[in-house]
């Protein structure tokens, strides 16, 4: 689907990504796992061609099966902040239908019907009525589903999602993950998503690329990377993951210098 060759991105003199190579086959799901400052969002932006004007880019990104892909038509994008990608003054019907009109040459009439079907698929109640409403009338979780509907309206082959669930509560997160999972299976969509949540990566991806501080630490099939992590950072993330199975000691395990894991005395 795409191949990134030795890609480096810098903002002014500040390097954000250095020498990244990575590829993804059609229908596969890749999680880019990392924290703030790991360059994961820069990588997603670079793939969408949405880097800010001041960024210096070296290396290349190729889409062998797509040639020169068009954002919105061939690539759909969802961002962390579901409010940010929706226009507050347009109804959501206009926004979703516009994508289909512009990129698929549909008539407004059929595009609106298409939009209503998508909203229904995303689990938005009363889709026909919802089309006439504005983004602020929906909750955060609903807005993220609407943004997802808009990203999928032109039937893209690649979906890029930058922290699609981290602004949402766990219940909504859970639902969005199930939704994305279903979409990928049904439509044969290729998915690249960026996350800081190791559990999300393991639930939703086939492959994972672990990044830290602008560098790629390791990459491979999810099973392999998480079962036999090669890098101390990956091991530390796994060891300190907080969930309902975390043993209840006086204190929680912390990541120390050089990715060592320690449990402080309480």
């Amino acid at each position: 689907m795409f191949a990134v060759q030795d890609l480096s991105v810098a903002y002014g003199r500040v390097p954000a990504l250095s020498g990244v190579s990575l590829s993804l086959a059609q229908g596969r799901r890749l999680a880019v796992l990392g924290e703030s400052g790991s360059g994961k969002s820069t990588l997603a932006m670079a793939l969408c061609g949405l880097l800010p004007a001041g960024a210096t880019v070296l290396g290349g990104i190729a889409f062998p099966s797509l040639g020169a892909p068009v954002l919105g038509r061939d690539i759909g994008v969802v961002f962390q902040d579901p409010g940010g990608s929706l226009n507050p003054v347009l109804t959501i019907g206009e926004q979703i239908a516009e994508v289909a009109v512009v990129h698929r040459g549909q008539s407004w009439r059929s595009a609106r019907a298409h939009a209503a079907r998508l909203l229904d698929r995303m689990g938005i109640p009363h889709p026909a009525e919802a089309l006439r409403r504005h983004p602020h009338e929906f909750s955060g979780g609903q807005r993220q589903r609407i943004a997802l509907a808009a990203a999928l309206a032109a039937d893209p082959v690649l979906l890029i999602a930058d922290e699609p669930t981290s602004a949402l509560d766990t219940v909504v997160q859970h639902a969005i993950v199930a939704l994305l999972d279903g979409l990928v299976r049904e439509r044969g969509l290729t998915l690249l998503f960026v996350t800081h949540d190791i559990a999300l990566a393991s639930m939703l991806a086939d492959e994972v690329a672990v990044r830290h501080g602008g560098r790629l630490l390791e990459a491979g099939p999810v099973q392999q990377v998480f079962r036999t992590p090669a890098h101390a950072y990956t091991r530390a993330l796994l060891a300190t993951r907080l969930d309902l199975d975390t043993p209840l000691a006086a204190r929680l395990p912390e990541i120390g210098p050089d990715f060592t894991v320690r449990v402080p005395n309480g």
Partner: protein
């Protein structure tokens, strides 16, 4: 049993939304004993943040009572409310918006001292350094501005600010959900350390039951403005009595590989 530090009774708060009145908090009773941690858990929109902001007197409830340390909080206003503020503090969810972008760490930490006359100006810096040390941040950060700190550092400064007045209660509104996962546990450990040392009580607001389980003793599960289940964390998590609780438990992400 001694009187609770915080006692909320029959609290109601309605908001007008899209022309309709919506009950955000719909008759909530809640008590927190001194030195304990009570979690208020629920999905977004369940009213937990509204309740927290009512307790902090940031918004005014429509009905009900809030007693804090034996005082009727809702009867206070103006100067008398401000005089009580040092005793109940708050840590906000997103540390990137919780600080005046122009104020340095020193100013953020000395504001509570200045406002309440707790220390002469000559001692502000020393006291701020003590607070930084308490939240395990290096002294060199004292003259930085919020945007020059990492998310984890900012949240530690927010905790330090909340502790500056030696409060009896700190409301923690999703204290780790905006932080990188690798610093979350350290911040939670810090909160537990501080509680052991100072005996402060926490009201933890969270949608993540893994966080609740890590630091709270008691949990109240909220849905649609009401508390639907209430009890010790071990009890409620082991035997959830409502669908709301089961759904929240099921939604906690876990590693399928483990």
């Amino acid at each position: 049993m001694a009187e609770a530090l915080l006692e909320v009774r029959g609290l109601h708060k309605r908001f007008a939304r899209a022309g309709r009145e919506v009950a955000a908090v719909d008759g909530v009773d809640l008590a927190i004993a001194a030195g304990s941690t009570v979690a208020l858990a629920g999905a977004s929109g369940c009213g937990k943040s509204t309740l927290a902001r009512c307790v902090m007197r940031l918004i005014a409830p429509d009905a009900g009572t809030i007693r804090f340390a034996g005082t009727d909080l809702l009867a206070l206003g103006g100067a008398r409310l401000r005089a009580l503020r040092p005793r109940f503090q708050m840590v906000f969810q997103d540390p990137s918006t919780a600080f005046n972008p122009r104020a340095t760490v020193l100013r953020a930490l000395s504001d509570p001292l200045r406002v309440h006359g707790l220390a002469p100006p000559a001692q502000w810096r020393a006291r701020a350094l003590e607070l930084l040390d308490m939240v395990r941040l290096p002294a060199s950060l004292i003259d930085r501005r919020p945007h020059e700190l990492s998310g984890g550092q900012r949240q530690r400064v927010a905790i330090a600010r909340a502790l500056a007045t030696n409060p009896d209660l700190v409301v923690l509104d999703e204290p780790v959900s905006a932080l990188d996962v690798s610093v979350r546990n350290a911040v939670l450990n810090l909160l537990m350390d501080v509680q052991d040392r100072t005996g402060v009580a926490y009201l933890l607001i969270s949608h993540d039951l893994a966080v609740v389980r890590a630091i709270a003793g008691t949990v109240a599960i909220m849905e649609a403005g009401r508390i639907v289940e209430h009890g010790s964390v071990t009890e409620v998590f082991a035997h959830p009595g409502t669908v709301t609780t089961s759904r929240l438990l099921a939604a906690v992400p876990r590693l399928p590989l483990a």
